[in-house]
């Protein structure tokens, strides 16, 4: 909380140049010997910490502080469709239990639907304190307006500290609605979570659209909300259950929506790269679609799934379900071979837990090399034909 103040008396052309150089967001304007900060500023404070001394100063402003002790409990929203729970819910229960060990707070699950007691029973097997169930005929299909009303009712009653939501397509549409309703922060697609003793959740994710990570917290708002992608964490083992199911009344929760689901059309099944054991991932270095034929011999030999980066989805070369990354799928295969991928952090965060990572790239400063077990320096257009030759020799 606060703002950056500029000490105009000390500003010179040289110092203004230096600040314009250091700011990653082009937020400094120097006009008529007046240095100002424009709306591009993200208050990263680099000008305060690394800039010329005495020019930029961060002025702290204090706000009324909430009493963090009033908010207890980590709740996990269990997404269901057709009364089947999405497995990301169990993974988040595992993480919630880990966090709760540090702060000694209870772990809850929230289930919304019609005829969903089975899911509540299943949730107890993962060793949580309570499952709150909201059942109503109107909740049979997910509806963002009605479901938001339920979460609001839950929060007003139980004042939990944290709500975790799976970063599925539904979750990514639902969580922001909850955040705006409860006027609180939300961090999307966290790749790591930790907690401070005072209950502040540390949310780690790539930031500013660049190759940097940010540790984000929500120091003065509750609940703390985060979404986490499927397969980012491991599901906990099932244990002897000790918790209880609490069926909540829904009579007082408003049911009102103008969204009507008319039809659901199932798409033809494609093999999901989420569960693939061997993946060959391709990126922008492939100049045209027909060049992808170069990977066929290796794909056949390894019986690998093919996946890709976002630019190739934008090119229309692949089904969007084949995209790895925080804006696509998170994968944890036994082997992944990256071919001609530039290594944007959102891609890396979607595959870095893979067991064996081999990366081929001609650019030695490629960020993917930093997380690869084997960094192969070379151009795919040189390596792949040679590889195909050597594979052929092997076949004979």
């Amino acid at each position: 909380m606060g703002y950056i103040k500029i000490n105009q008396k000390k500003v010179t052309q040289d110092l203004a140049d230096e600040l314009q150089d250091i700011c990653p967001f082009n937020a400094f304007d120097y006009v008529d010997q007046y240095l100002s900060i424009n709306a591009a500023c993200k208050v990263c404070k680099i000008c305060v910490n690394k800039g010329p001394e005495g020019i930029c100063e961060f002025i702290e402003e204090t706000q009324v502080q909430i009493n963090k002790k009033d908010y207890k409990g980590i709740a996990v929203y269990i997404e269901q469709k057709d009364n089947q729970a999405h497995k990301v819910g169990w993974e988040l229960i595992g993480k919630a239990k880990e966090l709760a060990l540090k702060t000694e707070e209870p772990v809850y699950a929230i289930v919304i639907g019609n005829d969903v007691m089975k899911i509540a029973e299943e949730a107890l097997n993962y060793g949580i304190d309570k499952v709150f169930v909201y059942q109503n005929k109107a909740y049979r299909n997910f509806n963002v307006e009605n479901y938001t009303n339920v979460i609001e009712a839950f929060y007003r009653k139980y004042k939990v500290n944290i709500i975790l939501v799976g970063g599925t397509m539904l979750g990514r549409s639902f969580a922001p609605r909850i955040a705006a309703r409860l006027r609180t922060g939300l961090t999307a697609d966290c790749t790591k979570l930790d907690i401070k003793e005072n209950g502040d959740l540390l949310q780690i994710r790539p930031a500013f659209g660049g190759n940097i990570m940010a540790k984000i917290h929500t120091p003065n708002n509750r609940p703390q909300l985060a979404t986490i992608r499927y397969k980012m964490f491991d599901a906990p083992p099932k244990i002897k259950r000790f918790g209880e199911i609490v069926e909540e009344p829904t009579d007082d929760i408003i049911i009102k929506t103008t969204i009507e689901l008319l039809d659901t059309i199932h798409q033809p099944k494609v093999k999901d790269i989420n569960d693939a054991e061997i993946i060959i991932a391709v990126g922008r270095a492939f100049k045209k679609q027909s060049d992808l034929d170069l990977i066929k011999p290796l794909q056949k030999r390894l019986n690998a799934e093919i996946a890709c980066t976002r630019p190739l989805i934008e090119n229309g070369w692949f089904d969007p379900r084949k995209q790895i990354g925080l804006s696509g799928r998170t994968v944890k295969p036994k082997l992944i071979i990256n071919l001609g991928i530039s290594g944007a952090v959102q891609y890396i965060e979607g595959m870095k837990e893979s067991e064996l990572i081999i990366t081929v790239n001609h650019d030695s400063s490629n960020k993917l090399f930093d997380i690869s077990h084997y960094a192969i320096h070379g151009d795919i257009y040189d390596i792949l034909p040679e590889l195909n030759k050597q594979l052929e020799v092997l076949e004979q």
């Binding site: 703002y3 705006a180 930031a207 940097i212 103008t258 969204i259 008319l262 320096h377």
Partner: protein, 263 residues
């Protein structure tokens, strides 16, 4: 019918890196472009305009004065009106403060049946701003729309695409849609439109124009989430570098695969 399209200027490539020794951010280039998903949003709005009579398209963005560039692009493509909301007091806004600012701007414009956003931006990648704007305006939203199926007097029928299924959904006006890549092919800005629109005034709205003028609801002060620290992503210390002739490095790949029993 009045459509507001929310668009954003994003870096053309992931242009922010961290010097791991000093922790200083390095800016590689100043290339910017319109967020690709917003192009699908705009194109969808233009197609509605071609289908229906008297449709007015108003493009809006939040950002520094230089973000006017994407608004000009929108005007040259086919938007009728464009507004920038910009104020130093918006600096440091997180998703909540950004969405709130945009919802205040939309309230200020006030006359709308439908708001169209890209499903996410390629810099923030959160996909949260659209749904949060809808919540602040107290209107329904439908995410991941790829096709407009039907437009009625009081509502719209759309197709949304999810992981393994598509949904056909009807929703009443006013509503907000977030657009994913579908069959739309975004049009290019046209020379003819540029000649017509180049003198068109792009209005800039500041905090002083909005209904809620409490500065604590905007920018850093209105942002529940705070960045505590930034750092470079993890590196492996045991990463093995393989260099040499094409033949040599390829042989190495074969050996690695064989050693791990893949060949």
């Amino acid at each position: 019918m009045n459509i507001i399209t929310c668009i954003k200027q994003v870096p053309a490539s992931s242009n922010v890196k961290v010097d791991s020794n000093t922790g200083v951010l390095i800016r590689e280039s100043n290339n910017v472009k319109m967020n690709p998903y917003d192009l699908y949003g705009l194109e969808t709005a233009f197609q509605i305009k071609e289908m229906k009579e008297s449709v007015d398209i108003h493009a809006v963005t939040m950002g520094p004065p230089s973000a006017k560039q994407v608004l000009e692009e929108a005007l040259y493509m086919g938007a009728d009106e464009a507004t920038l909301v910009s104020d130093r007091r918006f600096a440091g806004a997180d998703v909540l403060a950004t969405s709130y600012t945009l919802s205040q701007l939309i309230d200020h414009i006030s006359n709308y049946d439908m708001i169209i956003c890209g499903k996410q931006t390629t810099d923030g990648d959160t996909a949260q701003v659209g749904p949060e704007i809808a919540e602040f305006l107290n209107i329904p939203h439908v995410p991941y729309v790829v096709d407009i199926i039907e437009i009625n007097r009081d509502g719209i029928v759309v197709k949304s695409t999810y992981d393994t299924y598509d949904e056909i959904v009807s929703v009443k006006f006013p509503c907000l849609l977030t657009l994913d890549k579908g069959s739309q092919v975004p049009r290019l800005p046209s020379y003819k439109r540029k000649q017509i629109m180049k003198t068109h005034q792009i209005e800039t709205i500041t905090l002083d124009d909005l209904d809620d003028q409490n500065p604590n609801h905007y920018g850093l002060n209105g942002s529940p989430t705070q960045v505590e620290e930034i750092f470079p992503p993890d590196k492996r210390s045991d990463s093995i570098q393989i260099k040499g002739s094409n033949k040599e490095v390829t042989k190495e790949i074969m050996d690695i695969l064989a050693k791990n029993r893949y060949l």
